[in-house]
Amino acid sequence: MTPVPPSASHLTSRHKTNWSEMWRSVLRLSGRWRFVLGIAGALFVWTAAFSPWASFAFGYPGKMTLSGFPGGARVYLLPLLLLVSLLFFTLPVGATAGVRAALGLLFIAGYNFIAISWEGDGVDAVAWGAWIALLGSLLLLWAFASFLWEEADGRSLSGQTAGHTAVKLPDPIWQMLLVFGGVPALLICFVYALDVEESSRFVSLICCLGAGSAALSSLGFFNWTSELLARQRTFAVILLLIAALVFPFTQDGNGYWLRVLISVGVFASAAIGLNIVVGLTGLLDLGYIAFFGIGAYVSALLSDADFTTVHVRVPFLLVLLIGATVAGLVGIFVGAPTLRLRGDYLAIVTLGFGEIFRITMNNWNGLTRGPNGIAGISDLEIPSLFGSTPLNFGDAHEVFGVSLPNFANYYFLCIFLFIGMAILFSRLGNSRIGRAWMAIREDEIAASSMGVNPVRFKLLSFALGASMAGAAGTVSAHVTQQVSPDSFTFMESILLLAAVVLGGMGTIPGALLGAGVFYLLPEKLRAFQDVRMLMFGAALIIMMRYRPEGLIPNRRRKAEFREEKSRFSAGFLKGTGELDLMQQNPVQEGGT
């Protein structure tokens, strides 16, 4: 591998502030000490994992007062420790990964330390295990960080950060086997994580998973997996679909998480619609939830609910169409005058529209029953495939000897809804229409010079996005069984938008993951009641600082944010190096 030119490393180090220089000179370790401290740190954490963390007998969950076994949050140290121990053999390449994993250990130790002293009214409640966990993880962090500093100072030239290794995949058979094993593993992890109830354990698990994936990502693991999934896309999608369909069977007839996942599915479907508007066409819509609300109200009013103003019952499949159509028409009505405006104005207008919708619903007592909303919406009924009696979504079923709660019906419906939206999105995105949308996003004037009618295509995008939200809304009304104006606040629009941006703009898995993060994580973090949104906001800021392209970016966006880095590494890894490129160029230019 070609080493980095020393001059480049000097350049980067010159830009650092004097403060960090000072810290480094104090904390710098010489070669042997790094290993000594690192191994000591690892041993400390190993010991800590089997030692008591809390010295009081009450309250703190997970049997953290016991020694001899890694109960409670302690168990989540072990995977990271294993990773760290393996990383010792990859040094100095694995230094970045080591720092990330060590940070994860530190977070787990630190969080539990604080939580124990909080609940036990003082540091006295903390037992020695937690202390050495802190100490050990700090030592590990120090050891790995000193490898990084050395690199930055240009003293060691061999340790370029990993993660840019050219992606090498095994044979197709192995690829399929890996996917085949990976997807059930994911399902098992997911079911396991849902089962983790105490907040201390869950936060530790999140730290473990987060740090672990950050570490693996710096080793290029996710480049590798995304390449693998790109090659085996159809296969992976089918397996994921099967995994999603199998999930209700893992719940022992309990509907709680199904209920949560239904809202994830509904909002993910709506997020795909928003992805068309924001991600593909580049229109900022801050009142998107209103279209979702329109669908929900249409569905609520046409379902002959217990508390309603309209006493008709329309078959659901028709309601789905009506809801989507009405939302789309309102989209055109709002969009037609405003889409002639550029940029920020549209955001303001849609913001106003969202509020107008909510306030109208709140005051139109004759139709929407105002703040009381429409309640007692009956369960869905659709014609059964197997018999003459219609399938009622309120019934529990027994399938293959496993009892499925009634929410499983809605869960399956949501999967179909999401698939429908996903197919629509990907077909549109790769079509002539999708190209026109992207061109408008890039440069509206240039697009119109290409013969794209900007107003018409923006309107189409806006209306389609609106009707997709409307369709998702019709399902949502039956799931929640009641519809009221306070479900459609500005905050909801922002959450959907944030889900799209966080997940990765313009991608389907991104929309799903974003919705998952925004509607699943708050359920798991209920213990934090008041500060939950604060933590969430902080997490978002950190996320946008360190991964601006979103969790699952599409290739185009990823390249855009990581351009310089990847351009450098591309030349670096091909073995050609920047120098070779430079040597070729004068020849070419001279020839022309």
Partner: protein, 237 residues
């Protein structure tokens, strides 16, 4: 030769500022016509008005004897008039191929564009090599080639080029102008707007010199190149 494009008494304002004052000119079918002039002479404004991006205050534009005034930009492209805008304006986050596909947008869905693709790839082989690369990562010269190729994908009868030499090295500029000459050979009419008067006029069948929004000189390219005033004002002699 028939006049493909006729501009009569065109005036354009930006608020109170009259950028183009009563300009008339014509472009014959199969010819290269150059509009030259200094910064702020109104060259770009004229092109933007013809292609429908700016509304004229007065005057008429006829393209193939059809009036263009007040048609929206996207309909004007469809009538066979392609505009390569100043500063190239390729779609940076889309691939080269996607940019070309968009150029063929007016040809409609399902229309076979393979022949057009082959034509632009023959003119600009580099674009075939870079088909999967994002347009924003191309060099300035390559972006200019892409912008021209993109415009050609709409099968234009008249190609309007706005400052194709802007910000490019002399060698690349020369190549761009060679290609413009080649396009004429292939039967495309070209309206060329340039600050680089030497290059633009030596290529042109007919030239118009603009000064603060008005046409001050008309002639064949060769005549204008010999003209004392032009030599003084634009060729730094």
């Amino acid at each position: 030769m028939t006049e493909l494009l006729q501009v009569r008494g065109l005036s354009v304002r930006y608020g109170m500022i009259e950028a183009v004052k009563d300009v008339s000119f014509a472009v014959s079918e199969g010819a290269i016509v150059s509009l030259v002039g200094a910064n702020g002479a109104g060259k770009t404004t004229i092109l933007r008005t013809i292609s429908g991006l700016l509304p004229p205050v007065a005057g008429e534009v006829f393209f193939a004897d059809q009036p263009l005034a007040h048609l929206p930009a996207h309909e004007i492209v469809a009538s066979g008039l392609a505009h390569v805008p100043e500063g190239r304006r390729v779609f940076p986050r889309m691939t080269v191929r996607e940019n070309l596909d968009l150029g063929a947008f007016v040809c409609g869905q399902g229309n076979n564009i393979d022949a057009d693709l082959e034509r632009v790839h023959t003119l600009f082989p580099i674009l075939a090599e870079r088909a999967g690369q994002k347009a924003g990562t191309l060099s300035g010269g390559e972006q200019q080639m892409l912008a021209i190729a993109r415009a050609l994908m709409s099968r234009p009868r008249l190609l309007m080029l706005d400052e194709p030499s802007m910000g490019l090295a002399p060698l690349i500029t020369q190549r761009i102008f060679d290609i413009v000459a080649e396009l004429r050979e292939q039967g495309t009419t070209v309206l060329l707007v340039e600050q680089n008067a030497q290059a633009a006029l030596s290529l042109a069948d007919k030239g118009y010199v603009l000064e603060s929004g008005s046409v001050v000189l008309v002639g064949t390219g060769a005549d204008l190149l010999m003209n004392e005033d032009v030599r003084k004002a634009y060729l730094a002699e």
